[in-house]
Amino acid sequence: MSWLDSTVHRALVEAVLVGALGGVVGVFVVARRLPFFTMALTHATFPGIVVAALLGVNLYLGGGLFGLLVVAAVLVFGRGRGQDFTTATGIALSGGFALGVVLVSAQDGFTKDLAAYTVGDVLAVGTGDLVATAAVAAGVLLLLALVGKELLLAAFDPVGAAALGLPTVLLDFALLAVVEVTVVATVPALGTILAVALIVGPAATARLLTDRLAPLFPLAAAIGVACALAGVWVSTQWNVATGASIALFVGLVFGAVFLGTAVRGRVRRAAAVRA
């Protein structure tokens, strides 16, 4: 009998892991303006997971491989004349999701599987999921510790990064791959739609609180972990969907900070005018 045998304990550990992971990766997502792309990835990994389930191979592997195909499709279609990244992302999003739905609808037990996938269930994570998430978190953090500076430079000043001789294409691809791995690790717990909340929300909130780069990562990770834990707690207390209550907390914190900083800015400006 170990501590991890309880569903709630496993859910708490998973919440801490995805909260921290989402917060840290989110700083890059927000800086590179990739929220919509993240949204598309969460939807488009769906057929990969369905195919993996049908073939009986690892779900993470299936979702990850299919996600890479989607990244390639977005890059190809976004280069057409009169087309742009947003449109290509939208097409990949709806197309990938529809493919997954068609594949699932040919099976039995259609609605139940689909709901679990779209809204997730953090209370159902097993020890295997925990190990996978922890491995992804460790890998991503290691990569960010190694090339985080270069990635940030490419995010804020792509021209400067290219001028310094950094391999920007490789860095872009590394970043997209990091986002994708994070999505694949987060989706089982939060579901496709709400995984985006945990990746974008904490980082966007931290961005409102500070303009300096160094505190951004710990701040975003802390907000992510706090929201994830609060969401799990509320959902076990009042029996509501866990992923949704986590996303709701993220949204509430963002809204409160948004209003708070708006008021603070106004007060400061008024003080400056008076002075």
Partner: protein, 293 residues
């Protein structure tokens, strides 16, 4: 004929009418979505309508869904316009927050009900085969309204899309115009969501216009072409899903099949556009060589 035969059944005929009307409507609005790069805004609107659907259903049963969705759609259109005019948060981060938070409100409310999963699935993918005549009437009214609105405002809308600074200088009220377009997108989502679900709405809004854009550079061609692509995809998608389930015993969700047909048509249009540009480029090159010789 296999492409006409399924529609002798009344429910298939209703589904066909609904999808063709929606395809044409979304094609028209979609051109503006494409020009203004509002794909993410449309995606946000499709998701934020969800809490409205849930609250409407809780308060007044099936009849409340349309009005709940309408209220939620208009409220988010206003919120979106306000948020995207402030520059404190980058636009896409703000959209992502609005989308996930409001969607989460809907999911929390639904998850307290029994029959949770089937409601959610119906919302995400719609039930096009159970469209009623009342829904057809609602869709038709919304279509007439939106098309009339866009026709009246087409000049300022296009000016704002291509040259926002010029529009402002010409005295166009850009903020109000953005609100009008966001409300138009919200109306399309509201009209379509019960029949076809959120995922299909977003595909209908983005894909036909993008496909048409591949085939032409002229707006007068793109708009009717986008309508046509949307309508034809609805029709073919229904035929494929009917044939697969009746003729071959493979159940294919009709809404998702329509999306896949749309994406295939987009792929073909992309290839055709590529060939078209290559041909016109080589023709221009030949003309230059001949005139030089």
């Amino acid at each position: 004929m296999i492409v006409f035969e399924p529609f002798h059944l009344p429910f298939m005929a209703r589904a066909l009418v609904e999808l063709v009307v929606l395809g044409a409507l979304a094609g028209t609005v979609g051109v503006l979505v494409l020009l203004r790069r509002l794909a993410f805004v449309s995606d946000t609107l499709t998701h934020t309508v969800f809490p409205g659907v849930v609250i409407g259903h809780l308060m007044a049963g099936d009849g409340g869904i349309f009005w709940g969705a309408l209220a939620a759609g208009v409220v988010t259109a206003v919120l979106l316009t306000l948020l995207t005019h402030r520059r404190r948060v980058s636009e896409d981060a703000a959209l992502a927050m609005l989308l996930t938070t409001l969607f989460a409100v809907g999911v929390v409310l639904v998850s307290r009900q029994t029959g949770f999963t089937s409601d959610l699935t119906a919302f995400l993918f719609g039930r096009v085969l159970t469209v009623t005549e009342e829904q057809l009437a609602q869709t038709a009214v919304v279509t007439v309204l939106v098309v009339a609105l866009l026709a009246v405002l087409r000049r300022p809308l296009l000016l704002r899309a291509f040259d926002p600074e010029g529009a402002r200088a010409a005295g166009v009220r850009v903020g109000l115009l953005d609100l009008v377009l966001n409300v138009a997108v919200a109306l399309v989502v509201v009209a379509a969501v019960k029949a076809v679900g959120t995922v299909l709405v977003i595909a209908l809004l983005i894909v036909p216009a993008a496909a048409a854009r591949n085939l032409s550079d002229r707006l007068a061609v793109i708009v009717p072409l986008a309508c046509l692509v949307g309508a034809v995809a609805g029709w073919l998608g229904l035929v494929v899903s009917y044939e697969a389930s009746v003729g071959h015993g493979v159940r294919l969700a009709s809404g998702a099949t329509v999306v896949l047909v749309l994406v295939v048509m987009y792929g073909l249009a992309h290839a055709a556009g590529f060939v078209r540009r290559k041909v016109s480029l080589s023709r221009a090159r030949r003309a230059v060589v001949e005139s030089a010789a």
